[in-house]
Amino acid sequence: MSETLLRVRKLTVRFPLRRSRLAGPRPWLTAVDGVDLEIEAGRAVGLVGESGCGKSTLARAILALVAPQAGTIEWRGQAVRHDDAAGLRRMRRELQVVFQDPVGSLDPRMSIGASVTEALEALEGPQQRAAADARVESILAEVGLDPALRARYPHELSGGQCQRAAIARALVGQPKLLVCDEAVSALDVSVQAQIVNLLGDLRRRRGLALLFISHNLAVVRHLCDEVAVLYHGRVVERATAAAIFAAPRHPYTRALLAAVPDPDPAAHRRGALPELRAAAAAEAVAGDGCAYRLRCPLADEGCRMQAPHLEDAGDGHLTACHHGRSQPPGG
């Protein structure tokens, strides 16, 4: 069993909303609601769900970019505290992030080489010029960028090249876990394939672990060992990627998979799309029941009365659904 890099327990992140009346209680939006998550060294965990499900907020809490209201985060066995600047600095050497917008995540006034050097010095302090240059060149080569491009600026490069530069910047401090928040979503499909291949190579070559946040389920299937499905701030299903894609147990996971457009015109049967009810507004699902019940074809009185807990069916496949075990696999 390899080392557990990240252990998240009962993590809750809430944001204050505007009061509807001056004297009324302040309403809160619970973006992440009691989430447990572990990532072992070298493993790739996919985090999927629709926009607004809390997947990016969860990532931001893990990266200590937003403070949680409750719960704990441990990095390699050490509790991560938001007021511990030295501890956060240690963690950030080993925990890095790549965002969706490749051009926007680089400073437009800095050459690619300067951007990567800046990241290196932020993590490791001032460097000897020659040593820093050698490391920057080697990391650019590793992510598939011609070192001759190091003097170029982001606007002179394509989206794929900028995303490689952002990955180089994240990798220069030798992290153990890379958080990818929709890191391939804005790219064209041929470039997306290149970046997915690069991430796969980095996993094999460096033993890099990934927290891969995406709404693209086919990419997640390709890259990840495990998948957590997030709905309304909660993990509703968690299993190996093979189990999730072969036999999803939560009705929401099944609906998500069914909605993925199949790149095969012969497979499109008219009306085969399951009725996916529109995402209910947040206030409509407040209360005790299952958050998915208003869209769920299986919802019954029990789902209205009590929210299901995430439970292990005995095979390591976790589902938060009162009907999760009675359903035929694959559905």
Binding site: V189, S190, H215, H222
Partner: protein, 327 residues
């Protein structure tokens, strides 16, 4: 399905004047859209797929000039004056873009914005416009359509806004809908609903041009597909034939790049090595030659013409169409 061409593009070119000189974004594109069919125009960023239709419709950014011909039901749009274009654009030919907030005015209710489309053009009276507004919201499967009429855009979700934008495009009973990446910003669940809405509109006789880079979306709705690379159409085919047997190596590589849910996992995705040519660069030979796995000596010297055969066409020296060898 009628076979009559509703929208005919011939030798369309789009050029931009930039500080570095004139740059061609679209070159010699010819296409046809028939009534009641969905034509998907597929390509990656910079392939010219959006500029092609902006050029046809006189909507290019400043510095952009279209040449060639684009006829809607016989009427020339390229180079015609604004009044002539207005008679077609926004009435018989409607547009939907990627970001629905660009189509919706934030400070007016959905009902007011829908009604104005018909009232401004003198198509309906107030009562008729309101009835039509409800009808189009139902057509796009908007939940609680009567309530939506009183709401503002910010009160709708992203998918509902895109449906409102499509509803607005349908107000005038257009014959052709040009939708540029209408599902790109949406979740897969919402994307599936928007595709269903477009498919139903197509089934009711609306011709649809879908500009997209998403092969899954293409497979879900298109009747025919045109693939663009570096400003040119490199292949056209009926959708099933294109997916079953792509003739152009670029089309084949594009299809192979798409990760799928139903194929055995491979260690690597296919991808396409290299970069497309810089905008405006026009190599002597085929623009795809530097990245092409099937490249021949001829490809680097002579640009392959787009050759048609049995409802398909392809621009490739190395391609074999099902019934024989092209070129």
């Amino acid at each position: 399905m009628a076979a009559e061409a509703l929208f005919t593009v011939r030798d369309l070119g789009v050029q931009f004047t930039t500080p570095r000189g004139r740059v061609s974004a679209v070159r010699e594109v010819s296409l046809e859209v028939r009534r009641g069919e969905c034509l998907a125009v597929v390509g990656e960023s910079g392939s010219g797929k959006s500029q092609l239709f902006l050029g046809c419709l006189g909507l290019l950014a400043s510095g952009g000039v279209a040449s060639g011909s684009a006829r809607f039901d016989g009427q020339e749009l390229v180079g015609s004056d604004a009044a002539a274009r207005r008679a077609v654009l926004g009435t018989r030919l409607a547009l939907v873009f990627q970001d629905p907030m660009n189509a919706l005015t934030p400070h007016l209710t959905i009902g007011r914005q829908l009604a104005e489309v018909a009232l401004d053009r003198g198509l309906l009276d107030a009562a008729g416009a309101q009835a039509r507004s409800l009808e189009v919201l139902r057509a796009v499967r908007m939940p609680d359509p009567a309530m939506r009429l009183r709401q503002y855009p910010h009160e709708l979700s992203g998918g509902q806004r895109q449906r409102a934008a499509i509803a607005m495009a349908l107000m005038t009973r257009p014959e052709l809908l040009v939708a540029d990446e209408p599902t790109t910003a949406l979740d897969v669940t919402v994307q599936a609903q928007v595709i269903e809405v477009l498919r139903e509109a197509r089934d009711r006789g609306l011709a649809v041009v879908l500009v997209t880079h998403d092969m899954g979306v293409v497979a879900g709705i298109a009747d025919r597909v045109a693939v663009m690379y570096a400003g040119r159409v490199v292949e056209t085919a009926p959708v099933r034939e294109l997916f079953a047997a792509p003739a152009h190596p670029y089309t084949a590589a594009l299809l192979a790049s798409v990760p799928r849910l139903d194929t055995p996992l491979a260690a690597r995705l296919a991808g396409i090595e290299g970069q497309p040519p810089a905008p405006g660069a026009e190599p002597d030979g085929c623009a795809f030659a530097p990245r092409c796995p099937a490249v021949l000596e001829t490809c680097r010297r002579r640009r392959p013409p787009l050759e048609a055969r049995e409802g398909r066409s392809v621009a490739c020296h190395a391609a074999r169409l099902p019934s024989g060898v092209a070129t």
